[in-house]
Amino acid sequence: MSKFAIALLITVFGLSACGDKEGVVVYKQGSYSGKTDGKPWENAAFAGDKSKWDNSIRARGQNQNESKRIGD
C-alpha cells in the first residue's frame, strides 16, 4: 500500500472516529498544521544567543564522554 493510500485511509478514519473534535482544524496533507514552537535559545536563559546555546549543548555532550573527565 502506498503511503498516499494510507494517508487517505487514515484521514477518513480520523474524521469519523473523532466526531467530537472541534471543527476548526484544517488538515493539510504533508505539512505540519499545529501550533508553532519557539527556538530553544529564544528564552530568558539564552536571550536569543544561538552560539551561546550551541556551546552549552556541546559542553553537555562532552559530559557523556567519560574519557574527557578521566583524561585518557
Partner: protein, 206 residues
C-alpha cells in the same frame, strides 16, 4: 547546526533502567506510559545484550508521514515533536514507527486511546518554553535550558548517548576504536539512514 541523535552502545548497556527512571523523573510520565525502555536480547544466555530504546527522532520520520492530521514537526535541531492538541489518538504513527516509540494512555471509561505521547528529546513541545502548559503536555524542556535529555545524561555506564549527532558519533567512535569493537548501534541505520559519504559516522557492526 546541531542535529540531535540518540545512540545506545550495547557493549556498555547493563540494563540498569537508569535511563527509564530518569525519563519518568524529568517528565513526570505516568504509570503505564514508557517513553523509554530497555530491551534485552538473549536474556540469561551467553552473549546477552541490552539496548535502551525510545523515539530516535528519525531523519525521515515514518510517524510524520502517516499522521492523518499532520500533528508532527521536525525542529531545526532534528527533534521530532507533535502537537497534542491536534493528535486524535488514532495509533497510526505507532504502526509506522520502526521503534514502537509512540505510547497511548487509556482515557475515559471505555478504554479509548488518549493522545499519543512519546519521547520529546527533553525538548518540550509547541507551547511557551518552561510554561505550565508545556510541562503538563510534554514534560520538561531541557534543550531550552541548554541541557541534553536526562536519560542520556544520567546513564549509569554512559552507554546511552544523546546530543549533537557529530559529537555523539565521535564519542562512540573513539570508544569503539579503543576496544577494537564497534558494538551494535542498534537502530542507528533505520533512524538516520545510511552514513553519507564523507561524513564521519561511526561504523555499524552487527
Amino acid at each position: 547546526m546541531a542535529r540531535m541523535k540518540f545512540l545506545c552502545d550495547s557493549e556498555r548497556c547493563i540494563e540498569c533502567n537508569g535511563c527509564v527512571t530518569a525519563c519518568k523523573n524529568e517528565n513526570e510520565v505516568p504509570w503505564g506510559v514508557n517513553r523509554r525502555r530497555v530491551v534485552t536480547l538473549g536474556d540469561g544466555l551467553p552473549g546477552e545484550k541490552s539496548v535502551s530504546v525510545a523515539c530516535m527522532h528519525c531523519s525521515d520520520a515514518p510517524c510524520m508521514a502517516v499522521c492523518p492530521v499532520d500533528c508532527f514537526y521536525h525542529t531545526d535541531e532534528g527533534v521530532v515533536l507533535h502537537d497534542k492538541d491536534m493528535c486524535i489518538g488514532c495509533g497510526y504513527c505507532f504502526y509506522a514507527c520502526p521503534f514502537g516509540a509512540p505510547q497511548y494512555p487509556q482515557s475515559g471509561a471505555f478504554g479509548q486511546r488518549g493522545k499519543m505521547d512519546k519521547c520529546t528529546f527533553c525538548a518540550g513541545g509547541p507551547e511557551v518554553d518552561h510554561s505550565e502548559e508545556e510541562f503538563k503536555k510534554y514534560g520538561r524542556n531541557r534543550l531550552a535550558e541548554g541541557k541534553l535529555p536526562l536519560c542520556a545524561e544520567m546513564c549509569s555506564t554512559k552507554a546511552l548517548l544523546g546530543g549533537d549527532g557529530d559529537v555523539v558519533s565521535d564519542i562512540f567512535r573513539d570508544r569503539a576504536l579503543k576496544r577494537g569493537k564497534g558494538g551494535e548501534m542498534w537502530g542507528w541505520g533505520s533512524a538516520y539512514g545510511k552514513p553519507e559519504p564523507g561524513t564521519k559516522k561511526p561504523e555499524v557492526k552487527s
